[in-house]
């Protein structure tokens, strides 16, 4: 749910990175944080376990610039990917404006990818959203690993509505900003349609 503040002339949107455990959601946020100027970003908050697995969420506020005289702010969140944190994932989807699904290109994680898309669809529904209509992009992460599942096979298994997809290697930054831009663009376009 976008928040338009006429008093401070700001618009705030929420984008959530979703995907199975260890697929690279936090790494995406870390790269964005590292490569964004201090004036455009807030603090990167990570609620993580001692072993640096996301426990509740990561959060990064980002200011992209001005549109129609309004400062445009995106609040980026990740969900905890591990299966047993489902209650937390549901909460983080509250008020979401757009979703980035981060898929792991390893053959061994394909089942986890498929299960996580199903879980996203169910959890969105619980919050009153429909995966088929919400702004949504797919990121195929870890494209540099040996034996990565070919792109056509990943799309066949994971693409739900012919959504835009981006190949990525998050620790090197490949495809990270492109994915975010793809999602932000859809959120802003949906705002035009919804208003």
């Amino acid at each position: 749910m976008t928040f338009i503040n006429y008093a401070s002339r700001e618009i705030n949107c929420k984008i959530v990175y979703y995907g199975p455990g260890l697929c690279g959601k936090t790494t995406n946020l870390q790269w964005i944080y590292d490569r964004t100027g201090a004036a455009a970003k807030g603090k990167l908050i990570s609620l993580a376990t001692e072993t640096e697995r996301t426990l509740f969420f990561d959060f990064l506020p980002l200011e992209l610039g001005t549109i129609r005289g309004f400062k445009t702010r995106f609040h980026l969140y990740t969900v905890p990917g591990q299966v047993f944190y489902d209650a937390s994932r549901k909460l983080i989807l509250k008020g979401v404006d757009g979703v980035i699904f981060v898929a792991d290109s390893q053959e061994a994680r394909m089942d986890a990818n498929v299960e996580s898309v199903r879980n996203l669809r169910d959890n969105l529904k619980l919050q009153g959203y429909d995966l088929m209509t919400i702004p949504y992009v797919l990121q195929l992460n870890k494209r540099d690993i040996p034996g990565a599942v070919p792109v056509p096979a990943m799309l066949k298994a994971l693409r739900v509505k012919n959504e835009d997809y981006f190949e990525a290697v998050a620790p090197k930054g490949t495809g990270v900003f492109e994915t975010l831009k793809g999602a932000a663009r859809q959120v802003l376009i949906s705002l035009r349609k919804a208003s």
Binding site: M1, T2, F3, I4, N5, Y6, A7, S8, I11, N12, K14, G42, K43, I45, L47, F56, F57, F59, P61, L64, G65, I67, R68, G69, F70, T72, H75, A87, S88, K90, L91, I92, K94, G95, V96, D97, G98, D130, T133, I134, P135, K181, A184, R185, V187, L188, I189, S190, L191, R192, K193, A194, S195
Partner: protein, 165 residues
Amino acid sequence: MPMADSVMYSEQLGQLNGVLSRLRSHANARAAFLIDRNGQQIASTGEDLEAMDATALASLTAGNVASTDAIAKLIGEREFFALVHEGEKDNLHISLVNSRIIMVILFDERSSLGLVRLRVRQNNPDLVEIFEVIEQRHAQEVALAGANASPFAEITDDDIDSLFS
């Protein structure tokens, strides 16, 4: 479909700030914040606000409320109306203004939990009323202006591209 159904206007923001300032003063509190349940900061007043990361505070508070709300349901409660966090020097009182808005009061030894609770209870109806006015005003503007009510109705691809240039 996400809807731009959460808005704030200058006039009502002024009124909210007025109530918050009064509440903070009467409660001897360090700071007071209004936050929406999705983690957006709405209004704030208090000491050393510049030193505080209000964006992070809003996001973490909303996460905190969402999580305790889920716990409430697990034990058969509809929701917890208030949460209190006690620190060595500073304390937080977090409460629900209405179904969408959270109030956070930061206080130290100059105040007490009882006083903060009392002042929150006394001032809450005024806040509820102002948020009702905001909702009514927004609904009226949408009804009158339809698709042109939003400044983003005519957003262009060039506008969007300019954000990423």
